[in-house]
């Protein structure tokens, strides 16, 4: 708000306030994670620099029972398995995958 105080600068060259951009990712949930959350797919806004762990914590806050599943899940980013400390980029497709049981 302080930025708006005082005379409004005129012309093209007034400074743009520095705000960390949010990043929006698409989250896909499957099997028991989908059932536990009731969410199959949604977009989530995260602060810049957020990792897959941060995103999982966001869900764990809303669905505490997810904590029990955490050790059995692997994380994927854009369809590749990655470690939990991987930073996310805008537009990423993210998923938390339970142990697979196809066949």
């Amino acid at each position: 708000m302080a930025l708006l105080a005082g005379p409004v600068p005129s012309g093209y060259n007034f400074p743009v306030p520095h705000v960390l951009p949010n990043l929006r990712v698409k989250v896909l949930l499957f099997a028991r994670v989908r059932e536990l959350t009731g969410i199959a797919e949604e977009s989530v806004d995260l602060p810049a620099g957020a990792t897959l762990s941060d995103l999982f914590e966001h869900y764990q806050k809303h669905f505490p029972a997810l904590a029990d599943l955490r050790s059995s899940l692997v994380a994927s980013r854009n369809q590749e398995l990655v470690s939990w400390d991987t930073p996310l980029s805008a537009g990423d497709d993210v998923a938390f995958l339970p142990p697979v049981s196809g066949g």
Partner: protein, 157 residues
């Protein structure tokens, strides 16, 4: 070692309708093929002593197809084969229905057997597909296998 073929002509698909095994076999036939090995995965009527009523399969579809194609590429790299067809059902499946069908063709039988075995074993371990088992007194997501761990993060240098 052997003339490497590519996975470009392989057939990988997730289906919500019954798998056409004949079409899969036809897809891998060729004049240079001397052996054709298939694996037919069938829905069984029991799981650890509990009577199964039916199954439901779910997949991370885009990733599952990508992983199936990766398996095919690995097979072509490792074995002297001709072609692969790898089909998996999704949704509701009754007892006795085919949930997964794999056909591998090769000039010689040993490679066809080995490659088909590798294909189903790797699919079960790495492709993001999940099955839910429905019993008379409830339903559970089948205990699956953890996909291989991702590469360790690079050490700070």
């Amino acid at each position: 070692m052997h003339m490497t073929t590519t996975a470009d002509n392989d057939w990988c698909e997730l289906l919500r309708t019954p798998i056409d095994a004949n079409a899969a076999v036809g897809h891998v036939r060729a004049d240079r093929v001397g052996a054709l090995v298939t694996f037919d995965g069938v829905v069984r009527n029991e799981s650890r002593g509990r009577r199964t009523l039916y199954l439901e399969y779910q997949a991370y579809e885009s990733m599952a197809v990508a992983k199936m194609r990766e398996i095919c590429a690995q097979i072509h790299h490792t074995y002297a084969i001709h072609r692969v067809a790898m089909l998996h059902r999704l949704g509701h499946l009754e007892i006795g229905e085919t949930s997964v069908f794999i056909a591998v063709s090769a000039p010689h039988r040993a490679t066809a057997f080995d490659a088909c075995r590798f294909a189903i074993d790797t699919l079960k371990r790495t492709v993001p597909i999940w099955k839910k088992e429905f019993f008379e007194d409830g339903a559970v997501w089948a205990d699956g296998e953890l996909p291989p761990a991702p590469p360790a993060p690079k050490a700070a240098s």
